[in-house]
Symmetry: C2
């Protein structure tokens, strides 16, 4: 895409409400913008990264054999009364009335919805197991949103729900999801650890969280220095010694990027979601649920991958793979041009432009996602600063200087050195 046409206005200053580096950088790079406390817009660049993350998650859900569906935001009060969560869920539900004064809630999680769907359709053990997922908005009436996208009141979440005849079958699948989660986070460039967690008002038998060790997070994780034990402080309290081996526990500043639950029969019992076993006996369906908040994952990536100049996107979630920058002759760069046509006369500019345009077309032809900085009213300094802020993995510069040597200049965003290389060698560095 041509940067002259991209809807993106980078800023020198972060919004004053920004508390975390990810919020600062994502706002300055014009990926996101807060509208009211804890509610965000995703501008085109931010949306591109969002869709990359969504695609990774969707692919891995399909790999697990899960089927996608759409569950409504406006939810039936009666279902929430059945599970006794209408008043008790924390954070509380956003509630509203329609013009007939009928009360509803905005979905903050979808256990009630999905259990209702399943109880109407499943009769026999032969129908089990199966797995359903959704990637949609959730709404949580938080007392205080914080950390930019880390804790918001409206956000897109992937929720996977699984349904089983018994706990053994659930545990088997639960471990598959665990593996799939490690893979998802790895594809996003993140190394996670999985720790025991408190199940909060979702409830159930067991839950585990996927954690990134980071200072921006709200969670505190205790990690044993001797054995493989680790747990959220919220789960086991502020202990100093490992409950397993009595080794020392170390506390780490962390962000939760995923949470998986063995729900057991909590919801199926409350809502009457049963199946007939082989002997014709009615039994409650055993359930699991597995969540990933997409905006939080996106901003966690920025917490981990950035420097003082901006974001450094991991390859698979970057909005583009290559940032191609065309630099006009020094005599013209930085000049405030009123008409773009002024550029077309000097001899040297068409040459650089021509080479950059050709390279742009060639890269597109090879299926490489390119952001092409074709802007003619920006200085070299502004172009480089934008490139560093936006954080595309590979920067390619075409200028008079590189063309003299019949070369282009390549720089990886996460390295400092630049390298002159022949056009024909580009494939080695990108894609």
């Amino acid at each position: 895409m041509r940067q002259s046409q991209l809807f993106c206005k980078t800023k020198k200053e972060a919004p004053k409400e920004a508390e975390t580096i990810s919020h600062e950088l994502l706002a300055r790079a014009d990926f996101i913008e807060q509208t009211i406390s804890g509610v965000y817009r995703f501008l085109p660049l931010g949306f591109k990264v969002f869709k990359k993350i969504e695609r990774i998650i969707r692919e891995e859900m399909v790999n697990l054999g899960a089927q996608e569906l759409y569950l409504p935001t406006l939810q039936n009060k009666q279902l929430w009364l059945k599970t006794n969560r209408w008043q008790t869920i924390d954070p509380p539900l956003f509630k509203l009335k329609d013009r007939h004064q009928k009360e509803m809630a905005l979905g903050s999680t979808h256990e009630e919805e999905i259990t209702d769907i399943v109880r109407k359709r499943i009769k026999s053990y032969q129908d089990l197991p199966f797995y359903l997922f959704q990637i949609q908005d959730k709404f949580r009436n938080e007392m205080r949103s914080s950390g930019g996208l880390l804790r918001t009141r409206e956000f897109v979440m992937k929720d996977l729900y699984s349904f089983h005849t018994d706990e053994k079958d659930l545990i088997e699948f639960y471990h598959k999801v665990r593996k799939s989660y490690f893979k998802i986070f790895k594809r996003c460039g993140l190394k996670t650890i999985c720790v025991e967690a408190s199940s909060g008002t979702i409830g159930g038998e067991l839950s585990e969280e996927f954690m990134i060790l980071s200072e921006a997070g709200e969670d505190r994780v205790l990690i044993c220095q001797k054995c493989d034990f680790s747990a959220n402080v919220e789960k086991i309290g502020n202990q100093k010694l490992c409950p397993k081996c009595k080794g020392n526990l170390v506390k780490k500043n962390s962000i939760e990027v995923g949470h998986i639950f063995n729900l057991g029969t909590k919801y199926s019992k409350a809502m009457g979601a049963n199946y007939q076993d082989k002997d014709g006996k009615e039994r409650p369906i055993v359930m699991g649920c597995y969540g990933i908040g997409l905006p939080r994952l996106l901003s966690t990536i920025v917490e981990v991958y950035h420097d003082e100049k901006g974001i450094i996107w991991p390859k698979e979630v970057a909005p583009f793979q290559v940032h191609l920058i065309q630099i006009p002759s020094p005599a013209y760069s930085g000049a405030k041009m009123k008409k773009r046509t002024e550029f077309s006369s000097p001899e040297n500019i068409p040459k650089v432009k021509k080479a950059a345009e050709k390279l742009y077309r060639d890269l597109l032809k090879q299926g490489i996602e390119v952001l092409y900085d074709d802007r003619e009213d920006k200085s070299v300094g502004e172009k480089f600063a934008d490139a560093d802020l936006i954080g595309i993995p590979t920067r390619i510069v075409v200028s008079e200087r590189t063309l003299e040597k019949n070369c282009i200049e390549i720089k990886k965003r996460n390295e400092t050195k630049t390298k002159l290389t022949k056009m024909s060698q580009i494939r080695k560095y990108v894609g």
Copy 2:
């Protein structure tokens, strides 16, 4: 996908609240389910069709050069006060308060949001024109929802917004969108006509609707029998004579599947979204907006394409391209089998099954989307009834009878005749 694993329970009876044939068939085929009045779930088959439609629309938006973004559902009251629509928009907004008693609205349309984004970023005529779109939930506090997915309170909508220096530039783009809309509906299998419409509380200078002539619709369109004039009754009232040529007007029962607006400067003036022209003078940005409701489009397709047995999906929006049906020996079909293993002993069944499984794998390898009815506890009658109800364009049957002739049986959902053909000839009929 194997039908034994598909989360779908077809029903013989339609829900009693169903008023339209599309609601009846989509509910019976387990594509959708109403939860509260005007609020629907999309089950996996329905979601598949939804995603196909979404893809068509997204592709055509990108073809127009538009950039996608995410606009929040929870909206700032202040923006709605600025345009004076907080109280006046029809149908009214869903309003709610957070735990700090701060009032917000659920987005029913996003002119306020998008204009706010643009006014903060656009300064010069050089930034114009550009086009932004979103595909997201909208919430409308309707007095009465009706016609299944035709008028709902929560639904996904594609909204494209365009921004221009002047009306001439807008009109040029407006006509491109018009063309693009005809293409979108054509790809969905629908022949639409474009008529003058009332702009309602969206407002602006001019608006046109894309109409399907159908009995299920709420709209009445007047079409001139002599010239090319056509308009919504809502726009011009119940006239008998064409205002253009005085020819007779005929009234048709219609569904609106798309609505495009020349908004002029209504929102940019109200919210101060200006640009500097070439002479440095501040001018309001000229805007257009262009909507398509996805669930309504989906159900309109069913209104147009069905028969007494079920849905007949047009190729490009069908959940699968091929419905492959395996029919065990007559001696076994229809029998209520308690254990699937009972099928594996008789000689003839493995043969049919083996051939069907091989064909399934071959079709998948060719990149064809196949729903494979591998169910062993269903009769031939049940399998055919499900296939007709679900409405996949091509049905392929593998049975003892077809295998004797070294053939398979092919039937198009929109035709009555079946045809025996060699396996090797399949490519002629599908894909």
